[in-house]
């Protein structure tokens, strides 16, 4: 449904996209994961006809995003990173206007606007100016605006960036609801947990091209699951040896020899087992932490170095 091949785009001295390939079959959710400046927004702008690529090509349901813009625009819905609704209009006026511009009749646009306001819990705020909306409300309205024409293909550019944790979880529920009815979704995010929650497949991008690609489970396997950090009371020569059974590869040891860390496979009671093993070896411990894998870990293991 969404196919992009070898997309390239340069802005001045910045190579925003450097040969990016993306593919999302119909009815699937593709997560595009990457840090700020990786090229996520540029990719979405090209796929949604807002920008033309310098090189490469992209198709939505077989329609070229450069040559067949109107055909593409009939199929897609977009919720961008910066809310793209009219601040002066009310939420309802925005939705009716966009529905009309998207080829709905006046009556159908009004009905659809009312439905969406209801679905996104905005009915009460629907007749107030968007100016007064909170960040979460704006995001929801923006998403509703993207859905006004029931598009079969949806693009969400960092839908939860800047939202508080409650709004974030709520947004996840909304997105899950959308994809349950067969919408093809491309979602960009900076958060591994978000991609993990929502996406069927994840493409990790950095410096404008894909550096890894797979399901959340496959990526986590590459990352090594989680990271174990142990802080000793005093340096001990056998500490690294005692941790070896838990850590994949050799643990890295800090200069003062008090902190040891390394990738681990999460298992029930891991921290207890680690403390017991160290205690058996006569090593006293001040702190044990198991960190779930973060985007930094993904990059650390995929690029083999600190960013």
């Amino acid at each position: 449904m969404i196919e992009a091949h070898d997309l390239r785009k340069r802005y001045g001295a910045t190579q925003a996209l450097d040969g990016l390939d993306l593919e999302a079959p119909a009815g699937t959710v593709l997560g595009v994961l990457g840090p700020n400046g990786a090229g996520k927004t540029t990719a979405v702008r090209i796929l949604t006809t807002l920008t033309t690529p310098d090189g490469g090509s992209a198709r939505i349901a077989g329609h070229d995003v450069v040559r067949e813009q109107t055909a593409v625009q009939r199929l897609i819905g977009v919720a961008a990173q910066d809310a793209t609704v009219d601040e002066v209009l009310t939420g309802r006026q925005n939705l009716v206007m966009l529905g009309r511009l998207g080829d709905l009749s006046r009556k159908a646009a009004r009905a659809r606007a009312a439905d969406l306001l209801e679905q996104f819990d905005l009915t009460e705020a629907g007749d107030r100016q968007v100016k007064g909306y909170s960040g979460g409300m704006r995001r929801r309205l923006d998403l509703a605006a993207g859905l006004i024409n029931r598009p079969p293909v949806l693009f969400l550019d960092e839908p939860t960036t800047g939202l508080d944790p409650t709004s974030r979880v709520r947004m996840w529920d909304v997105i899950r609801g959308l994809v349950s009815d067969g919408t093809t979704l491309l979602l960009t995010t900076q958060y591994l947990d978000e991609a993990d929650e929502l996406a069927d497949r994840i493409v990790v991008i950095d410096h404008g091209h894909a550096i890894a690609d797979g399901t959340a489970t496959q990526l986590k396997a590459k990352v090594g699951g989680a990271r174990l950090e142990v802080t000793l009371t005093s340096p001990h020569p056998d500490a690294a040896h005692a941790l070896a059974p838990f850590i994949t590869g050799a643990p890295s040891v800090s200069q003062d020899e008090l902190h040891l860390r390394g990738p681990v496979q999460v298992q029930p009671g891991l921290a207890t087992t680690v403390v017991r093993a160290l205690d058996d070896a006569g090593i006293t411990v001040d702190d044990v932490q198991v960190h779930p894998p973060s985007l930094d870990d993904v990059f650390f293991s995929l690029t083999g170095g600190d960013r």
Binding site: L50, T52, Q73, T84, V88, G102
Partner: protein
Amino acid sequence: MIRVRRAARDVAVLTSRNLVHMAREPLRLSDVTVQPVLFTLLFIYVLGAGISAIQGGSYTEYAIAGLIAMNLTTSAIGTAVGLSDDLGSGVIDRFRTLPMWKPAVLVGRSLTDLLSATLCTLIVVATGLVVGWRPHAGAASVVGGIAIFLLFSYALCWVCACLGLFSKDAESSQGLGLVILFPLAIVSNALVPTQHMPAVVRAIANWNPVSAVTAASRKLLGNPNPSAAIHAWPMQHPVVAALIWSVAILAAFAPLAAWMYRTRTLD
């Protein structure tokens, strides 16, 4: 045919959106509501007091058409500012992802500004009637004398659309618009006869489209029109000159604005 109907609908939707903006921010309309009344009173009772004789009638009779010209010309900045505002907001990106007729953004803006220009003109006319101005021509001729202003104003708003598309934000398009439009309105026969201007200024004024439109309107309204005595071609044939100017400006700047809009929004 369906395509034309859809384009017309998109223009109507965006025009009504702009009208909602106006209704929500009525202070922005001051340049077509308060300003025309203010200018009319100031020019007639302050400046006009120092101008004793206009060939063929009083200064009030002479000034109203010129005040319409002046108010319409300066308030055309609104098009530039409105468009700059839109371009600076995210909503343009939203429009660009919709399967709509893209120039509707520009056409909707121009129609909104035509409506405010009509309001502006009616306010000057009403103020003029209060201070003693009267047209002296048949109804059709009077309507023609007003319509010629609206046509020119519509053409001018496409020039301003280009200014808005050229400027990086609303403030700079306001500044740029003022620098271009204010001299355009002043170096003309709108507020004083051109006869006593220095030769170079007079030549510019006689060929200024604002002069042609103002002279045409004075002729059609049956008001004093001292420019009729000037030998420059546009002053001899003001109605034809006004129409040619308006159509030429429209033909040049509407496609230019459409092209600028396409390139500006295609980063």
